[in-house]
Subunit: 441 residues, 2 copies
């Protein structure tokens, strides 16, 4: 880690820049995969499973037998852990259900919003060395609470053509049984355009490598929505003399082990805290299985001494970290100043891995400074809100003349006429009533 | 308008397809404008105002004198109309403020969300023949309610280098005084990257032509968010024997006058209603100032006879209209079935122009079928939600072992260790207390 001592505020934006992602231009490669899947559908997916995952598949869809076997064979202790996480994530995301108000803006003019699930959503779960069943919890649970009608999962099979038990257990336990053995950008293509086996969806969620990310970027042109733009994972930790250096070091390493392009930032108002933490980091790094990855990530990483914790918060707002850990005992003074972050962890016992797995918050968060303008995944990500309005005759009488005036000023006389023709009818009706009264009198 | 009689359900997706937008590939042109503005900043903007808007400008920023003069010279009747609209839009968008719950998911594990305004937002307001001050209301009011710290407007000046009084009045009356005389894709570039005069923003809102739309698409690569993808405006009207054909015709024309690429759809379960409406349409079209535009839009448009109003709703869900008018007296039976729409207008007196201007709902809505996966602009569009969590020692004791189990299963031992090191400390502390008690006993 590079240590920076009291940088000038004018340097903060430069220091906040993420390490240049060595992104090859994958547009052509990924475009070709997208159009091949669009054209050849299932056939293309079978061929690509063979080519990229070295998996010879009989079926794209995971069978009921495979799911039932996973339910039987899952490690009971892991099952219990997943169940606890599921319960907490469900509780927190259920609390995000909003009851919308009905508002009468002017007498006779009633407006409201209705929350409706996005009908079809696709969750992409990467393969690779480890089964990321936690991402199924984080995406599948809010999709279920939102009541999306169709929820599908795509994830690559291993060489034996199988999906990990923990993945299948997690999906099944939250009620998702449409799982397809497709990985990479071809999975994104399949969910975007549909194939014989895989239904097309309206919105695609989930992490992935550069190919997956590029595919998600490209399919938006065709009207499919995505969760959010992606970048390497990152943490920023703010520490003072009340923090525990060994804990901070562990949190920095937990982030650094994600990938060589991860970035970890340590901010403090005390040189001693930085020194002690870096020492603890060296000690813990030796025993880390993913030592090599973490070491490379630490090369992109910075420890920064600043004048005060207030300055650390200000720097953090400039950086806009995906994860922000405030590892200090005083917290109340600082919370109100946090402007830009994906998820915030408060105090010495709120480690980031709690939020990654089991506390209840979502772990799909904006990286790369996107926390300035994006929220993490939540129940909101799986719904849309439709506005409704109802004007009574009185309502239109009340606001109609204003609409006529404004539409004329914008030179949209068709808009004006839609009001005028109705107001004329109301006047005619009123006249008719008046005449009737006179005639009867 | 093309009339289609009882099409088979299998044909609905094809009929729902929007007319192919004659989108030229503007990527190169717009990319060049973006990079010129990035490099030459204000200088480029002055030159482009001259080139594209034929406006010789002294300053990019609208002066206080210009704003004050607009406040004095605005037509009082228009001012009153704008004020009524402002009041209604404010009332409805204020009702969208959500009080987030604090949730204890497991004893000692507390999670919550905090709503925080996106710090800097830019609103683009197109120029052209008419001043679209209504878009300032629709974007500026929720930005103000959200408490965005910096709200700027870019809009092209006319040949005299001036901005319309109604635009300046509307902006000033909701408290926006940073207004810049920049139009087209160069305005999007200026707000995305910043210039000497114009601050860079985090998110850009607002309608525009193909150049503006392409610029908004491109700048997302650099981390700037946008309101939503754009397409031509559209309305779908569902009518039965309780509808008023002249009203429906007026609503169809109000939509058709937007642009030659607009699309209007009329659905009914009664041939007679369609016939009467098309007749009324011909009558009204003659007197429409934008007759030529509307006529061209009607060429893309369809009247469809279906078996029932239920089928009309089902078709509408497939089409996912920006605006949906249900011009029938029975409404309660249908509302619950609406799945995909931007904004819904209920009954004979809820004309679309009410929502365009003054009822209180937002008029920035998803077009082109995006209503399947996007909401219209609302207060939500101007905020992000940050999750917070706080684990007490007890909280970590309760969920720590589950986190360890899950992290191990995902082979992320750094994540596991961040918990283990803390649990060990808790055990040590507990042991120390025990020992102390024994010693004292």
């Amino acid at each position: 880690m590079q240590t920076i001592i009291k940088p000038n505020k004018s340097q903060w934006p430069l220091i906040s820049k993420r390490p240049g992602i060595n992104a090859k231009d994958l547009s052509n490669t990924v475009s070709n995969i997208l159009s091949t899947v669009k054209k050849d559908q299932d056939k293309a997916l079978f061929a690509m499973a063979q080519k990229y995952d070295n998996a010879k598949l009989d079926n794209l869809k995971v069978s009921e037998e495979e799911i039932n076997s996973a339910l039987k064979n899952i490690d009971p202790a892991l099952k219990e852990a997943i169940d606890l996480a599921r319960k907490n994530i469900t509780k927190f995301h259920q609390s995000q259900i909003v009851k919308e108000e009905i508002v009468e803006t002017t007498k006779g003019v009633t407006c409201w919003r209705k929350t409706i699930a996005i009908e079809k959503v696709g969750l992409y779960i990467p393969g690779g060395s480890a089964p990321l069943f936690s991402s199924i919890l984080m995406l599948g649970i809010p999709a279920k609470i939102a009541q999306c009608k169709e929820i599908i999962i795509c994830t690559p099979a291993n060489k034996e053509g199988k999906i990990d038990n923990a993945l299948l257990y997690t999906a099944a336990t939250i009620g998702i049984r449409n799982i397809y053995k497709v990985g990479g950008s071809q999975a994104i293509a399949a969910m975007a355009y549909g194939t014989q086996s895989i239904p097309a969806v309206n919105k695609i969620f989930g992490p992935g490598n550069q190919y997956v990310t590029e595919a998600k970027r490209l399919i938006q042109k065709d009207g499919i929505a995505i969760d959010m733009p992606a970048g390497p994972s990152e943490v920023l930790i703010i520490a003072d003399e009340t923090s525990v250096p060994a804990f901070i070091a562990a949190d920095l390493l937990a982030q650094a082990e994600h990938g060589p392009d991860s970035q970890v930032m340590l901010l403090s108002n005390k040189q001693e805290v930085i020194d002690k933490t870096l020492k603890a980091l060296d000690v813990q790094l030796v025993n880390l299985p993913r030592q090599d990855i973490a070491t490379r990530a630490l090369r992109n990483s910075k420890a920064i001494l600043l004048d005060s914790i207030q300055d650390c918060i200000a720097f953090s707002n400039e950086y806009a970290p995906e994860h922000l850990i405030i590892a200090t005992e005083k917290l109340i003074d600082y919370i109100g100043d946090i402007q830009n972050a994906g998820s915030v962890f408060l105090g010495n016992y709120s480690c980031e891995s709690a939020g990654d797995y089991a506390s209840g918050t979502n772990h799909t968060l904006p990286t790369n400074g996107y926390a300035k303008n994006y929220s993490g995944v939540s129940l909101d990500s799986f719904v849309k809100k439709i506005t409704f309005q109802r004007l009574s005759r009185e309502g239109l009488s009340n606001i109609g003349p204003s609409i006529e005036k404004m539409a004329s000023a914008e030179q949209l006389y068709g808009h004006k006429n839609a009001v005028t023709i109705r107001l004329e009818k109301l006047n005619e009706d009123a006249e008719a009533v008046k005449e009737q009264i006179i005639t009867q009198a």
